[in-house]
Subunit: 343 residues, 4 copies
């Protein structure tokens, strides 16, 4: 059994980790911390967990995380980098679901997150946790930066085209749409039901933190400079992310459908849909699958990729467990095989 700790379990990625780990045959939750809610049973905050989880949130100070095999950080950014050194020195492996170990360049981190990076040496060794592009490095990583939800869809969407060298990497347009849970469990007026329901809007139009993360990772797939327009939108649904990705083809003799099917043939969590498809987000609701379809709009020299995921699963907690499975030598899909909830 893998002994597991979770730091900051009161948000949506925290409760999703708990839901998924309950179905994992090799996971044993040892501790879950929350400064604010120490003492509260997790099943009192989230009644969906009643009958399965007996433990309560503990204060971070008193939690014995050092005896865990792996600790997940389901916290705001800034927390994991403050605690990672001690854990790693104690032989505990770290998977951060926030942004502390996503951006390899500390200066870029500071620019977008507004604080200095407190452990640049660990950042240097941290591994970006996107299994489909980085599987081998993840297996042996001590620290994994779990990708953002948008970046997961953009990378898996553009990767086959960039790897094959058939598009202009300098003119990418990613028009992305997310359910509201992507904003977290924060008491903010603009996230209220009465504000976000029955409406649709773009946001972050002046710049979004997932932009530099995506550009940095896409740059690893091509020698040419990346130019990316990324427009996030808010959809009145709880879970789900849909990215509509446009790219200019530099070679038009390529069979896009075959390219994608080949690229992802052996991936357990990327499903290339039949030609002509348009996946809906509910087809991956509550599952770790990312479904993808590739199109060439009639009369154009563009590729258009449609990619859907559950932002809390493949876009967060599920991917984190997929990384854990890799790190501990388990079959990659262990505990992650539940089908999507439809309808």
């Amino acid at each position: 059994m893998i002994k597991i700790g979770i730091v900051g379990g009161t948000g949506y990625t925290g409760v999703e980790l708990l839901r998924l780990l309950a179905a994992h045959p090799d996971a044993e939750l040892r501790a879950i911390t929350s400064r604010k809610d120490a003492g509260t049973p997790v099943a009192e905050m989230f009644p969906s967990l009643r009958g399965r989880y007996d433990l309560a949130f503990t204060d971070p100070a008193g939690a014995d995380l050092g005896s865990c095999d792996v600790v997940f950080f389901a916290t705001p950014h800034g927390v994991a980098m403050a605690q990672a050194r001690e854990l790693v020195d104690a032989g505990v492996r770290v998977i951060d679901l926030a942004a502390d170990f996503r951006l390899q360049d500390p200066a870029v981190f500071t620019q977008w997150y507004g604080l200095p990076h407190s452990c640049p040496d660990l950042l240097a060794e941290a591994v970006y946790g996107l299994p489909e592009l980085n599987r081998e490095a993840i297996r042996t990583a001590r620290i994994v930066g779990n990708p953002g939800c948008y970046p997961t869809t953009m990378q898996l969407g553009y990767a086959p085209l960039l790897e094959a060298g058939v598009i202009d990497p300098g003119r990418l347009i990613a028009d992305c749409k997310s359910g509201v849970s992507g904003a977290g469990r924060k008491a903010e007026v603009n996230l209220l039901f009465a504000e976000a329901s029955d409406s649709f809007k773009a946001y972050g139009v002046k710049g979004h933190r997932h932009h530099p993360e995506t550009v940095a990772q896409l740059a690893r797939l091509t020698a040419q400079p990346i130019g990316l327009v990324f427009t996030p939108h808010l959809v009145p649904m709880i879970r789900g992310m849909h990215s509509t990705l446009y790219a200019e083809l530099t070679r038009t003799d390529v069979d896009l459908q075959a390219l994608y099917e080949r690229r992802y043939a052996n991936e357990p969590f990327v499903d290339v849909m039949p030609a002509g498809s348009a996946p809906d987000t509910r087809s991956v609701r509550a599952s770790n699958m990312l479904r993808i379809a590739v199109h060439r709009p009639a009369g154009t020299d563009l590729a258009m990729v449609l990619a859907v995921e559950d932002n809390l699963v493949k876009g967060a907690a599920g991917q984190a467990i997929q990384n854990m499975n890799l790190m501990f030598g388990l079959p990659e899909a262990t505990g992650l095989e539940a089908l999507a909830v439809l309808p």
Copy 2:
């Protein structure tokens, strides 16, 4: 033109007053206050108002409310009673959309709202602003306590039965359902889209402030004591309220349909549906209409009443304007005739 002031215009009843007053031919908004957002143009906070409202929120201290003909309080409870004396003395009439002037008994107010009533003399003269039950008193009132949303449906739903003396007033069960906007524009986790959407629950099961208000008003319609079970529920919709009201018939020879049609024959904002109907809340969305259907479930000696309203209109801002029209001698429906938005 009626010169109007609004205190506390940043919540949902505030913006709804602005929306409705924009269509009112005799209303002129002079001032709208907000302590926290003083200086912000109202149309910046609510872009739906762009092009119609130029004014900004002003600090309550500097607002010249004394020159208004009427001031609406769209504030949390406790604010109106602190300012009413000064306004009334200046000849300004007051319509409070919160609870300060709903409960005639100061002790009951204190019990449910947790603070003493600061102007019991004004409370004594305040008029409960439900036009269908209290029209004449409203016309000359200096202070109107605008009814709560739930109490409006319960009173208009039970009134014909109580007035006719055909039910047992001691055994009423009101199973009520409200859209999320009823909880106000407050940054609370339980009101987030990701919490309230695609779910349904009862709340306030240990007691809700609209219970004593309703009991006190229903008691005016009968000499017998009122016994009322009131169970509010939260519906994943923005606007709308649906009350399912049960009562035990003490006379079973009564034509309930005729009773309701007769009672509300001349009411502009109560629509008795045909026998056998079940009104949906969208049939009154954004309108000041309350629709009502009365049933006698097969094989029982019960009356069942279904009443729907838009909680922000007939349940709040629309009813307040209806009261204003009465107070200023205007036709009661002035500015309130827009049809419901369907779909």
Copy 3:
């Protein structure tokens, strides 16, 4: 492995059976039929099943259901009773998720469903499949009538009170609310998103088929006659059912909380919430759990029970699998232990 057939798999209970059976370690799907969609791969109609189910819908005529151990009917009423005789004679056990084997009295069936019952002898031996009230009979049943979604909540909600003899069975009021999937996957205008979203209504006010089913089953728990008012409402959510149940206490010295906790202490799928709770439907979304809370509203001699379930799981497909587990001697919770999806 239990060899399984599904008749009529294109509706919501059908796809939910497929989702749940995919997680069942002892189930092997042999055939799934659809007259209209014969030849279509199930994963083409429901992309959420891609990668797990290879088979296609087959025409009922050609399906070898006789070699199955059990056949589920996820069809409209009238289909199971036409095919049950042949299956039972071939030694196949039958679980009908429709209404053919719910009402023991053929005359009542005809009254409510508008057609004669075609196999009254099988009806006579059929077992009503509510494990918490009927467990032993289910184990050996050849034919199980799987309960309706509303009746499941009403029976499990009222059972402890009726069994303890502490309420008046003649004056029950059940105010029930269902998500839209309860109406099935039917192309009807009133179920469209643009009709049912952001609205709330009662329906079936002249009588609903789950009324006689519930009355007949509740009658088994008491010697006194049952009087039940049942008002279903439509909630703008996909899944979920919330029943608010009222009853008049005939004994007021009873500890309701203890009564419920004791009654359901050993039930794997009934969770009695702590005193004072109000369960939300999302706390059981996509799970087989029914959560229940019992209250005595202040100042009354009423019991009020709040019961929530996922109408497609405990209210349909999950309960059917629970029944199958009992019929085949498996641990009752096999394959049904996934936690609710929250948020």
Copy 4:
């Protein structure tokens, strides 16, 4: 008073015409037809209209449309072109909310709508009813083809850029999102609440009928050939449309904000938002306003335009009334001044 007839009033554009016309001081509804629902009072089908509309749907055969001043067709395509000749000959003006008079080229019409155009001569004289681009021609038109909802946003979004000649018209990408009411009041499984709620998808990826309409109209604004990728998506909301429009700037010294403000300075129903804005669809819900924001994403030579409308108002019925006002010499905003419903 303008005497008005409506053909086919049982869909969403029909009931929206009725809602809006009820607030129009110069409109008098004379007849509304429906073959299928002849005899049914309109207020029975749409209870939101109770108390305002007494008339019933009449059979098209018996309706005296020839005595109207103007007839709106709120029908599927193919109906208006069959009846327009007779009406026009009788001196009745025609506004078609379907597609019969949108595509000036009959061959293109046939290609996309699958039937020959039955009155190409009337098509030749028909005027495309987008007031902001075609106001003068509309005033005197006998037949107006009311624009599609998507094309309205795309044209008003791209027009300032095309008119100013600052983008490459051959490389336009329009990523558009619509609420479900845009698909009409049709009983189709994919439009059910349980299918469309809490999900998001692209659709029409192989080609959508609004593509040729938009291309043909945009071509009137530039001498260069139009190249347009148009990707519609379905949003789980009732009303609202959000178009995210991308274009490559050929001149980068242009002040985009000033360009848009200047272009739409005198338009009553186009609101250019402040620089940096992202309008949400609810800010135009139930109103005839289109709000628009223009951006230049950092580090790019792209223009990005965000345009929102209510697809049933500015995208359909409201725009039709705006056209009627122009055709009859009324102030253009008559009856269309209601503010958006927010929240």
